[in-house]
């Protein structure tokens, strides 16, 4: 029953907030962006608001957190009170502070991983589409073979081989995810490579790097940006799941996935605290999905709902 009340209250609060946020954006942004901001659906405004909040918290974590990230400041599993707003964890560290630092660690690592996957995947994909021939065939068949294995299973296999640390985590997930990015970048770029202006640039004698950077990338960017949001969600969920399994971000770094795992016993006693980091993960993914939905809708030019 309490959950239903909470859900209704959450929706009731977020609707006027998103509305006000949209109105403020439409007022404050320069004219050309203000129109897009003013006409976006409430869900997208909500998404932007949440993402903005997360970025703010991640940037200013040391100023916002009442206690240090790793310090033991109380006894174990203290309930919520005025000094420790969300109580303490199983070692006596402040939950709220760790939740705030978690925004920096979890989201930061997921973002770095996605960016790396995109850099490698899209460059290779565009390169393959541009060169064609045996290089394209070889790379694509290799990627096909890697994609025949479910990504979480493949990541677990690679983590066994290279051991678990933040650096290997980023590299492994980025490598596995780059295969997915490669496919999309390649198929988008294939549509661009056959254009006359690419042919013209080629005949001018421009190099491969110039062709990728100046001719293809600007024309393939829109679908790749929407894909970035979706892939970020996948990477973020994968990293959280791995951390939850104890194989991702390692203690004592504050991280939402491992916070859930460490304090999960509290749930069976009816305490909701361990659900908060998991909820923080879910909220960000929902928010990014909302924004991506809006962007896809705008990019596809679909004004009529099917």
């Amino acid at each position: 029953m309490g959950v239903v009340v909470f859900l209704i209250a959450f929706v009731a609060v977020s609707i006027p907030l998103s509305w006000a946020f949209r109105a403020a954006l439409a007022r404050l942004l320069p004219r050309d962006m203000a129109y897009a901001a003013g006409t976006m659906p409430l869900t997208a405004a909500f998404g932007l608001m949440v993402v903005g909040l997360y970025v703010f918290v991640a940037l200013f974590a040391p100023l916002l957190a009442p206690f240090p990230e790793r310090a033991v400041v109380g006894s174990q599993f203290q309930p919520w009170d005025s000094t420790h707003w969300l109580g303490t964890d199983r070692l006596g560290r402040d939950m709220l502070s760790r939740l705030i630092y978690g925004a920096r660690n979890t989201v930061g690592i997921a973002f770095a991983t996605t960016a790396l996957a995109f850099l490698v995947g899209s460059l290779l994909g565009i390169w393959a589409a541009l060169r064609g021939g045996w290089l394209d065939q070889g790379l694509s068949r290799f990627v096909d073979a890697l994609m025949a294995i479910p990504s979480l299973i493949f990541s677990l296999l690679l983590l066994t081989i290279f051991g678990t640390s933040v650096l290997t985590l980023i590299l492994v997930i980025a490598a596995v995810d780059a295969t997915r990015v490669y496919r999309i970048a390649r198929s988008v770029a294939q549509g661009v490579v056959v254009m006359d202006y690419v042919e013209a640039a080629r005949l001018r004698g421009e190099g491969t790097w110039y062709l990728i950077r100046r001719e293809i990338l600007p024309n393939a960017l829109a679908p790749l940006v929407a894909e970035f949001g979706l892939r970020f969600c996948f990477v973020f969920l994968t990293i959280s799941s791995l951390s939850f399994l104890g194989l991702g971000i390692q203690p004592p770094t504050a991280d939402w996935g491992s916070m859930v795992r460490d304090n999960a016993t509290l749930i069976t006693f009816g305490d909701v605290t361990p659900l908060l980091p998991a909820g923080a993960i879910a909220l960000l993914t929902v928010a990014v999905n909302f924004i991506v939905d809006w962007q896809l809708y705008r990019a596809s030019g679909l004004k009529e709902r099917i």
Partner: protein, 317 residues
């Protein structure tokens, strides 16, 4: 009939080839190990003699193609080698766990597939109604939630008040009813994860078809909306729906790993996570091969089935 048989044989051959490549990738990944498996296992303090002895015992002194061949022929005969951590035969460790995992996945699929088909058809039927909007928003949120979040919400709601056990202890001599009861929460978690996606895709597939001329004809004939959806739209939407079901059942494979850990369910996923933290590469390899094979086989089945429902696909290149 001849054509159908050819098609199935062709897909099977392709599937076997894919499985071969997958086994190559899984085996080849171990070759990336910096240094040597034997010295990694024994640590820094091992003498060269003990490392050499372990290398000989594990067969590491032989070239990679020979080891791959020995591993592959062993696997095909049900011999996965021995665990590096416990020195027990891997096949024994897998036997009961594989059954448990398959049971859980089938249980979840048995609830999720009919449920998502019904919800998807209803959402398509009452398009843009309140039901459609709520179902869509719910589905989008469920897709965005990490599995362990859903699992703990269910534990919080249903296990903490004592309706269902939050830890799954199953023994071989349990009755089916008891087994279904204790595995209800993990199965429900998996159901929620995959239902959302399947429902959305079913809805989209049917709505896509609703713009077709023959649907308009059926509507002009004065058929009821339910009959139009069930008799005219659904059979033509089967191919995409079968594909979506296969993708999501394949998704169950990865979902099962996290859910098994949350509910302490004695399945393959839990064993895999344990083995990853112990860096027991032999066990991880074996389980990865099983999961990947299931994934490949599911996709293969979906491909064959959707071709059978739509004869036009038979002639594609």
């Amino acid at each position: 009939m001849h054509l159908v048989l050819m098609m199935i044989l062709q897909r099977l051959a392709l599937g076997v080839l894919t499985l071969f490549v997958v086994s190559l990738v899984i085996f080849g990944a171990t070759e990336l190990l910096p240094g040597d498996l034997a010295s990694t296992l024994l640590g820094q303090s091992a003498t060269p003699e003990t490392v050499a002895a372990l290398r000989a015992q594990l067969g590491l002194d032989q070239p990679a193609p020979v080891r791959y061949w020995a591993w592959l022929t062993g696997v095909l005969q049900g011999d996965f080698g021995v665990s590096l951590a416990t020195r027990r035969p891997i096949a024994d460790m897998l036997a009961t766990r594989l059954g448990n995992t398959v049971f859980l996945a089938l249980y979840a699929a048995a609830i999720a597939v009919p449920l998502s088909l019904i919800l998807g058809v209803l959402a398509a039927l009452w398009r843009n109604s309140l039901f459609d909007r709520v179902a869509n928003a719910g589905a989008l949120s469920a897709i965005s939630f990490p599995e362990f979040f859903l699992a703990y919400i269910l534990i919080f709601l249903l296990a903490q008040s004592g309706y269902f056990p939050s830890m799954t202890r199953i023994s071989p001599n349990m009755s089916l009813g008891d087994k279904l009861y204790v595995t209800f929460l993990p199965a429900l978690t998996l159901t929620l994860v995959v239902t959302a996606h399947m429902m959305r895709m079913t809805r989209a597939a049917i709505i896509n078809l609703m713009a077709q001329p023959y649907i308009e004809m059926a509507r002009l004939k004065g058929l009821s909306p339910l009959r139009i959806v069930l008799r005219h739209a659904l059979p033509n939407a089967l191919a995409p729906i079968i594909n979506v079901i296969a993708i999501n059942l394949a998704y169950l494979i990865t979902g099962v790993v996290v859910v098994e850990v949350v509910f302490v369910y004695p399945g393959l996923g839990q064993l895999m996570v344990d083995s990853v933290s112990k860096r027991d590469i032999a066990v991880v390899q074996a389980i990865a091969l099983i999961f990947a094979s299931a994934y490949v086989l599911l996709n293969l089945t979906a491909d064959v089935l959707s071709t059978l429902t739509n004869p036009r696909l038979m002639r594609r290149k």
